[in-house]
């Protein structure tokens, strides 16, 4: 049915594609550029997803700009000038330079009405274990250098219990506000006086708008030059800058890679066929593939990631294989369209089946973008293939000149010897492969941005957003009690120096049970007379002393989580996920984790019910590792399936010969990656899947051609390989490590597949001569 020439089939198909595209784009489908969409679907736990979102969302639109100088005044002046520049750019809708601490202090003061039941976890322990000693320390402190923090007076809080309860909320980088600018003292990090002034600037729209419209990057560059001229340091971070950079480099790359690939194909065709007609036909094949792939992907996913298009550009390289195979066949003497199709169809059909299977196997990866790549390329190939079958026979003219001969100097070598020699050469390289499964390799971020981000994280004592303890319970009270049970273990890790710090809502929101214990402890201070004795020693006036005793022994008022959340520092509020469907959740974040601390935190989580240690990035890297292994298995499986199919169709000897081409090509690829020390991860294996598809194509085209057709098949394979190598070779120059690794893996494999396909010709029948190779 396929081989009958029916003029209406192809236009009908393309009209359908056009309709789908119009409908999809009409309802607002678009290109996705956010690199976060490349993350796998995640561990699937709704709590983890919500937690991660809560931790990262506030920063999705915020950029931080720090100007550094040797005096706070100079840093502040530079920051003010920078703020003007940022404002003038029109990219930001909210730029703030200082912190107004008054409302925060006011909110803290309001917590004073619950002071009787609010004790810091450390004071709770100290008052329970040895109240005498605790009071002695507080008295000694009053004789030392101590100032009020300006929230409550000595009369309101003579023992400093409330002040000490507030202290975790005051923890931080200790930013001063000088000349209306937030100033961070970084002297201790540099060994000399050094100050940073800090600006927060939120982008006007979501990251998508900024990245598709890259003035943020230009502004960043301008600011760097400006800072150099002013002799101030400049450090910038924030999700919008990273996203803008990643998207801009991906856009640049797709334009370049796609463009040069097309140019190479155009020059080759003009040179070989000396006519624009085959060129136009090839472009039609590519265009039909891209349009069909796009339409199918949009139909399946609703939107498409930019990375999908970068990888999808490889479809160009592969779909021309089919076009070249058909067009080169037309160079045979006495060629007719119908007969040509008859010549190439067996090879094309086998090639399509194997390639589509190989591409679809990409979809097993848990990365949404790779699933899109799988669907995009597999469907694109089908559309290109159909174009070759349905359209090309109608429009191709017989050639005026015969196909040239290809001469290969090694063609008389025995196949088995070639296989053995290649195996021997590749084996050491395989042992030199060093796998790196790191999600960060997905991001193209310049060193400057990465080091700036690290520095700012340290200066601001930022807690990690990608790992945390997730605490769950059926009600709020249990949720708080579970956190309280965790705190001593976390404190021990801090004291051992394995953690720099942690943050848990229960530090500032005691459970009902803990509040009751606190109330007992504070009443005991009054009834035992210890509080009175302390206040007398201090010399606190009688009126103040009596008033405080009344406060500390009055019937306690309980602080509910709701009321507490309205008053506590936003850094704690952020960690409270609330209750949903009878599950309440909160996070405990950690800071400055020593390498060995992770297993300790895992153990800690294991010892407490309802506590789960989540390492988000670690989980993804783990996922990448598992899928690298899985892909190796899948690759072997695909090869076995292909061998079985080929054995059935061609016989076992021929099947082995054909399949040895992609197998050896893969070995060459892996060996080159191993020898060169290039990045090896799950993405290289995706490249190997491509080599399998293309290698089988080449071997089959050549193998399935009859003796007459070999000459044109060799030409087709050569031209396909040349264009594909050019297209993939450019991927190696990508700034995104994984894309570059993809290119580095593909090029040697493709070259090997091409050479081997031509060498692995079936045994000659007597008298056919060696004129085809």
């Amino acid at each position: 049915m396929l081989t009958k020439l029916r003029p209406s089939l192809w236009p009908g198909l393309m009209a359908l594609v056009g309709l789908i595209l119009i409908v999809q784009f009409g309802r607002g489908a678009g290109l996705q550029t956010d690199l976060h969409a490349l993350l796998p679907d995640g561990p699937g736990d709704p709590g983890v997803v919500a937690a991660r979102q809560q931790l990262t969302e506030p920063f999705a639109r915020t950029t931080l700009w720090l100007t550094g100088a040797d005096s706070p005044g100079k840093a502040a002046r530079a920051a003010r000038r920078l703020a003007e520049k940022l404002h003038d750019s029109g990219l930001f809708n909210d730029i703030h330079t200082d912190i107004d601490s008054a409302p925060v202090r006011e909110a803290w003061r309001e917590l004073l009405q619950w002071q009787r039941v609010l004790l810091s976890p450390a004071d709770h322990r100290a008052l329970r274990d040895d109240p005498e000693r605790f009071i002695r320390h507080r008295l000694a402190e009053q004789y030392g250098l101590t100032g009020s923090a300006g929230v409550v007076t000595l009369a309101e809080d003579p023992l400093g219990l409330f002040q000490r309860y507030l202290s975790p909320m005051m923890e931080g980088p200790g930013a001063a506000v000088i000349d209306g600018m937030m100033i961070i003292d970084a002297g201790d990090r540099r060994g000399e006086e050094y100050y940073f002034a800090m600006l927060h600037a939120s982008v006007a729209d979501d990251a998508f708008a900024v990245s598709t419209n890259p003035p943020l990057l230009a502004l960043w560059q301008q600011a760097i030059e400006w800072a150099e001229a002013q002799d101030v340091a400049l450090h910038v971070t924030g999700a919008p800058v990273f996203t803008a950079y990643g998207s801009a480099s991906a856009s640049r790359e797709i334009t370049l890679i796609g463009g040069i690939s097309l140019l190479a194909i155009i020059s080759l065709l003009l040179w070989r066929f000396r006519s624009p007609r085959p060129l136009l036909l090839t472009l039609t094949v590519i265009g039909a593939g891209l349009a069909g792939g796009l339409a199918t992907s949009l139909l399946v996913f609703g939107q498409l990631h930019l990375i999908t298009l970068v990888f999808g550009a490889t479809v160009i390289g592969v779909s021309v294989d089919y076009a070249f195979h058909y067009l080169c066949d037309s160079l045979r003497p006495g060629w007719t369209p119908q007969q040509g199709l008859h010549h190439v169809l067996p090879g094309l059909r086998l090639a399509l089946i194997t390639s589509v299977l190989a591409f679809l196997s990409l979809a097993i990866a848990p990365f949404p973008a790779l699933r899109q790549v799988a669907v995009f390329t597999a469907s694109g190939l089908i559309f290109s293939w159909l174009t070759v079958i349905w359209l090309l026979p109608l429009l191709t003219l017989p050639a005026s000149a015969p196909a040239p001969r290809l001469r290969l100097p090694v063609r008389r070598l025995r196949w088995a010897w070639i296989c053995l020699a290649l195996l021997a050469a590749c084996l050491p390289g395989l042992f030199m492969l060093e796998a790196r499964d790191d999600i960060h390799l997905l991001y193209a971020a310049p060193d400057r941005l990465v080091s700036d981000d690290r520095l700012i994280g340290e200066l601001l004592q930022r807690t990690e957003g990608s790992y945390f303890l997730l605490v769950s319970a059926t009600d709020e009270e249990t949720l708080l009690q579970r956190q309280e049970a965790l705190l001593p273990g976390l404190e021990a890790l801090v004291n051992e120096g394995r953690l720099q710090g942690y943050r848990a809502p229960a530090e500032v929101i005691p459970s009902q049970q803990r509040q009751a214990e606190n109330a007992t402890l504070t009443s005991e201070l009054v009834t035992s007379g210890r509080l009175r004795e302390y206040m007398t020693q201090l010399g606190l006036g009688e009126t103040h002393a009596r008033a405080h005793e009344t406060v500390m022994s009055a019937p306690p008022q309980w602080l509910t989580p709701d009321a507490a959340l309205r008053h506590v520092d936003p850094r704690y509020r952020q960690l409270w996920l609330g209750c949903e469907e009878q599950t309440c959740r909160a996070l405990v974040t950690v800071r400055g984790m020593a390498p060995a601390a992770e297993s300790a935190l895992q153990t800690l989580a294991g010892e407490h019910p309802g506590v789960q240690w989540v390492n988000y990035v670690g989980d993804i890297s783990q996922g990448m590792r598992e899928h690298r292994r899985l892909s190796l298995v899948m690759l072997s499986l695909a090869l076995i399936v292909a061998t079985a199919v080929l054995a059935f169709l061609l016989g076992p000897r021929q099947a082995l010969r054909v399949i040895s081409v992609p197998v050896l090509a893969i070995l060459v690829s892996l060996a080159v990656v191993g020898y060169s020390g290039a990045l090896f991860s799950v993405f290289n294996l995706m490249a190997l899947l491509l080599i399998v598809g293309v290698g089988i194509d080449y071997a089959l085209f050549y193998h399935c051609a009859d003796r007459e057709g070999r000459r044109s098949a060799a030409l087709a394979v050569t031209m396909a390989a040349a264009t594909t190598v050019l297209a993939f070779g450019l991927l190696a120059f990508s700034q995104t490590p994984v894309i570059s690794a993809f290119g580095i893996t593909l090029v040697p494999g493709l070259v090997a597949a091409w050479l081997l396909a031509l060498l692995a010709r079936p045994p000659e029948h007597p008298g056919t001569g060696a004129n085809a190779g």
Binding site: R77, S101, G147, S148, D179, E193
Partner: protein
């Protein structure tokens, strides 16, 4: 020559933008006394803390160490022992770390000015004005950090050939007087002080 002229022009153009603005007191140098610079200072102190709520002042005495790089150790011996270490990374009260803004952290540049002669640095943190004094000198320091406004009103320094007294006025009416005595300048830090600084450093985040 042309290039030099261009450069000069550019500097002139940029001058009004980069020159110190009103946030610096230009004649401050003249009011700053010239004191000897020492990397390490040890001495004794008496401290008197008065608070409006207290019927009598809290008097204490002890010894202190100032190291230009490490910071300050403030060791109260009488009537109740306690140790406060102030380093670039924060405050350590008897081994407990307190990060975040605290008025006492501003004592570090004050001590640097008094004992290490680093007077110019004071202006990074304070607005400095000369006060009235019979003999010797007096400086009034108003913190430029507005987030400290509610906690720290001002610091008054006075002395003659040597610094004599520091008065810290809290935002809520408290007043702490520090008087120095038996000041000496060893070449190296004693082992005990070094350990105290190191402990503080280790506790730092």
């Amino acid at each position: 020559m042309k290039r030099v002229l261009t450069a000069v022009c550019l500097v002139m153009l940029c001058w009004p933008l980069t020159a110190p603005g009103a946030d610096h007191n230009p004649p401050a140098d003249s009011v700053l006394p010239e004191l000897d610079a020492h990397d390490i200072t040890r001495g004794e102190f008496t401290q008197t803390r008065r608070l409006p709520e207290l019927s009598r002042p809290l008097r204490s005495s002890g010894r202190f160490v100032h190291d230009v790089d490490h910071g300050i150790i403030w060791q109260v011996l009488e009537p109740a022992p306690s140790t406060l270490v102030i380093t670039p990374r924060g405050l350590y009260q008897d081994g407990e770390h307190h990060s975040g803004a605290n008025p006492m952290t501003t004592l570090r540049p004050v001590f640097r000015a008094l004992f290490s002669g680093d007077m110019a640095r004071l202006e990074d943190h304070f607005e400095v004005t000369a006060g009235e004094a019979g003999e010797g000198w007096t400086l009034e320091l108003k913190p430029r950090d507005s987030s400290l406004a509610s906690a720290l009103q001002k610091i008054i320094l006075s002395g003659d050939d040597y610094p004599q007294q520091v008065v810290i006025k809290d935002g809520d009416g408290g007043r702490t007087e520090l008087r120095f005595a038996a000041i000496e300048h060893p070449d190296t830090l004693d082992e005990q002080s070094l350990q105290a600084f190191e402990r503080a450093h280790k506790t730092a985040p």
